[in-house]
Amino acid sequence: MRSLFLFLFFLLPFLSIQAQQDDYQITIQDRSITLREVLQKITEQTGLDFSFNSDKVNVEEKLKIRIKNASLDETMSVLKNELRIDYSIVENQIILNLQKTSFIDSNPKYYTLSGFLNDQETGESLIGATIELVGTSKGTISNEFGYYAIQLPQGHHQISFSYIGYQNSRNEINLEKDLKLNAQLPTASISLPDVIVGLSSQTKLREKQSSTLKLSPKSLENMPEFAGESGLIKGIQSLPGIKTHSDGSAFFFVRGGEKDQNLIIIDDSPVYNPSHLFGFYSIVVPDFAKSINIYTSDIPTNLGDRLSSIIDIRTKDGNLNRWSFSGALNPLINRFALEIPVVKEKASIFVSTRRSNFDWLFKRNAPNADIGFGDFNFKYNHKINDKNRIYFTLISSSDNFNNQGLRNTQSSGISWGNFGATLRWNHIFSPKLFSNSTFNTGNYVYRLFAPGANRWESSIGSISLKTDFTHFLSPKYKAKFGGEIQTIYINPGTISTPSTRDLFPRIRNNYSRKSLLYYQVEYALSGKTVINAGLRIPSWKSIGPALYGIYDDNYDVVDTVRINSGSYNNYTKIDPRLSIIQQLNTSSNLKLSVGSYHQFLQLISNSTSPFTALEVWLPASPNIAPQQSWQFACNYYKHFPKSNLDFTVEAYYKHSKNIIDYKSHPETLLNPFLEGELRFGTMNAYGLEFMLKKELGKFNGWMSYNFSRAIRTTGTINNGNPYPAFQDRPHDFSILGNYQLSKKITVSGYFTAFTGSAFSSPTGFYEYNNKVIPIFGSKHNDRLPNYRRFDLAFKFRLNKNINARYQHHLNLSFYNLFAHKNIVAVNFNKVEQEDGPPLVKSNFLSEQSIIASQTSLVNWMPSLTYKFKL
């Protein structure tokens, strides 16, 4: 890990310098200089001549500029802002033009330009696309429905629409009243030069203001696959600040937070367990996702309820123009997607389904087994008119692991599933006021069942109604506000059985109601400074009927309180959030943010397993105060236009309280007084995250390194001393590279390495009644071995014509190519076997000594997938 650290720090400056060398290095540091002299200096330093109309451009105008080692793009942007001149580069000449906006009067009338941005071919709305007033710093980005609105002064303007992977579009407009302008962007052909599909520095800076990590489904497709799929969880685990639990796990940790502090929402529908096959697969079908935004700091006030991250997934609307059918076939898993334009350019349906295909793998050893999982996703969208549009999304996933009884009459096994249905209504009240109302219901159910209709079941479900408004108040102000009412139902694990002799503790359901108000304003203090300030006010009420315990200082129940109906406990919290973005120059900005976050739902699990077990959810209640955190972050972003590199460094500090840990050997299942098993403490997490990214070109990818710590303190645990959290991994490095070997072959490599997780290892042993018992010292005193993995993938395009209607390709992936044994657990209770893995000692007259044993998962996994699109 030390060598990795050194490697990284040698490599990062090298790459940065390399990127700058690709560009011009212009320095002008005269305090008083004419424009003529400036242009001369630029010509001297770049070799590029200027061409302009001397009647319109006053070259004797005195300027005060200081530019040091700036790129040409940065230099010209400074001049553009100082003098209101536009420029373009034709061959080796820079052509200067006076901006049309310079003719407007000093007190102009403003009008609103608004509309939707769509993919020209499919009609899909483009989320996060950039709309700019050419030659100025004015601009905005489209929202999650592809809608934009910007207020501009009366007069002629040139508007640019851009989105990565698409050809830019420019429109001349004459703004004499509010104007609606929809834009359809054509996708960029692979044969077009990068400059067309890439984004300008200004656009990049605008995108970076939103403080999100974006993961495009296309980039997921390029990542090496595991058993047929690259998967959402594995994709986001490769981003800075996000750490995987271990191989095959759907759990992840963000900036030191716990695994339940991340919320995945698909079209506003929460997903409580995003895993299939205990975590080897993610429930998010890659074909279904359109955009994936990951918020790890400065989370907007309309999102929340988790302390560490929000993964906001928006699904495809469905092709509005023509039928489309796509799929992927793999020996372990198959998936298909169908897009149907119900009414051309007005309404469409997207249907996708996925089904595992493991039967052949286990049929020989387990002929009565029914092992598998599946997904079904459906989306309908309808443009009712120019002002109204509705979307209906349905997501459904299920895992079933059954073993049929000998007479095919009884089976045992487990199953779990997510369900979510969302109806959304977009309404444009006026060009300045956009609203989206959402009705959502969903649940997650986990069942363990056995012959005789015995069943253990836990579930969580919710019904929610919310409305979000975006108000484009003025050229400088944009406000978002709204509210939500949500009812949450939790069954924290009950057993049902037909037998009268079975007596189980009665576990009562929990009912809660959340109401939320939020307001956030974005204020452009100047062309270079933007302030975002907001308040989120959630209120959480526990609802009867309920029975809860009163605990003494030893966490023993001393009394109980019975509630028959109505609300009986209320937490109303105020979460302020503030960020300031300062554009430092034309290619870099600095962002400072601070925010408070509350979480009212917690996953109760003392398991260290990478797999989802019988976890249950519990709401905030009289005995469980909501978890809370404050996060401070400082982000520096720099774009290198010539080499198309993005460099980001972010420092953060997060203090959380009411974070749950457990007493020794807690009883978390079927315990009516589960709160007595919980212990509450604080967490301090801090870190530094670096990321270098190249989105375009023959060679693209990203590289990230984090230094981070996550330290907990919980009451009397560890004698009251701080201890590292399981996810405390100081060093984490990953690099992803895609290289186009030829027109038909792309190779991708992904390498990651990080410090092993903290865990408690024995510092001594003793014998008790023939058994060897471990003695533990301080909590999490040890670490698992460091993790290291290299994946390799080849993508072969099979169709000759790149623009052919039928497109198909073959993906060959090798997960953990070098078969490095990444340890997920170390055990100290097993004995060696001559012909197999170590086993738990069961004969206590045997003199065989207890040994330490280690478990690794997924030592090597090849994968071959055929993908097609029609």
């Binding site: 092992i371 692991f401 073993n403 096994g413 056995a450 001594g764 055990n827 004995v831 738990v840």
Partner: protein, 272 residues
């Protein structure tokens, strides 16, 4: 309790995971704890016999032989009765009561150990026992040998118990390793690692083997201790492990182990 009789199913789960990963021995670099604590096994019973208490020192490594404590003064007290325990020089670390006795139910007993100027005390009541459930014996189809398929349910809402199963086939095959001692537990709590236990050694034995099964009734506190012991030993190392920590003893002065008393039922089976 049928709900947790799901071995067939869980073997499938294990099969899935074994398809992807593996477990192997490792030379772990243990951190030194320098505990040097007394480890006391004191399980008295209502059987009329010379009761036994074991006292050893804790070890640094699991493969070490523990150092026996041979010079302690050991006694139990109940009301005004005191029974002393004498060290057996033939079995270092083992102390037997001076007289044979059975622990009556409904009384409180105190343990007192003096060693190198330190006093270790504990108290307990007697755990009550319910009838022994039938032992389930399976057949290994390949060798026609037998094995213990199930001793007892892991979960019972009405009782908590420890089972000690001594399997002896020394009279049938005196020339081979011919004895085994198994343990099992029943608790009134549900743990994922108890439901989905890791694979353990399977002891095969021939027809005609003698099995002596003992069932120990547990007090609530001792059941908590044994549940923690199971989590740290026989239930550890599966796919749903829990966060580990030391067991809490009821013996004072930072001693390890546990002092308890149990009602015991015994059953002898000749395997057919």
């Amino acid at each position: 309790m049928e709900i947790f009789r799901m071995n067939q199913y869980w073997s499938l789960v294990v099969l899935i995971f074994l398809s992807f990963g593996c477990e192997e021995k490792t030379d772990w670099d243990y951190q030194s704890g320098d505990h040097q604590q007394l480890a006391i096994t004191a399980i008295l019973s209502d059987e009329f016999k010379f009761q036994k208490i074991e006292i050893f020192q804790s070890m640094n490594l699991p493969s070490e032989d523990p150092i026996a404590i041979t010079n302690a003064t050991v006694a139990i007290k109940s009301m005004n009765n005191v029974i002393e325990f004498i060290h057996d020089n033939n079995q270092p670390g083992i102390y037997y009561s001076q007289i044979a006795f059975s622990v009556p139910s409904n009384i409180n007993i105190q343990l007192e150990i003096l060693h190198e100027g330190q006093t270790y005390v504990a108290s307990t009541s007697v755990g009550k026992v319910a009838p022994i459930p039938p032992l389930q014996i399976g057949t290994n189809q390949a060798t026609d040998e037998r094995f213990v398929a199930k001793i007892a349910d892991v979960y019972s809402p009405v009782e908590q118990a420890m089972y000690e199963v001594l399997i002896d086939w020394s009279e049938i095959r005196p020339d081979t390793f011919n004895q085994a001692l198994l343990y099992a537990f029943t608790f009134n709590t549900v743990d994922i690692s108890g439901i989905i236990q890791p694979n353990d050694e399977v002891i095969n034995f021939p027809v005609g083997t003698t099995i002596i099964e003992k069932k120990f009734g547990l007090t609530s506190d001792y059941a908590d201790f044994l549940r923690a012991l199971a989590i740290e030993t026989s239930w550890q190392g599966g796919f749903f492990d829990e966060s580990q920590s030391s067991l809490k003893s009821n013996i004072s002065n930072n001693a390890l182990g546990y002092f308890t008393a149990c009602q015991v039922l015994s059953d002898t089976i000749i395997v057919q």
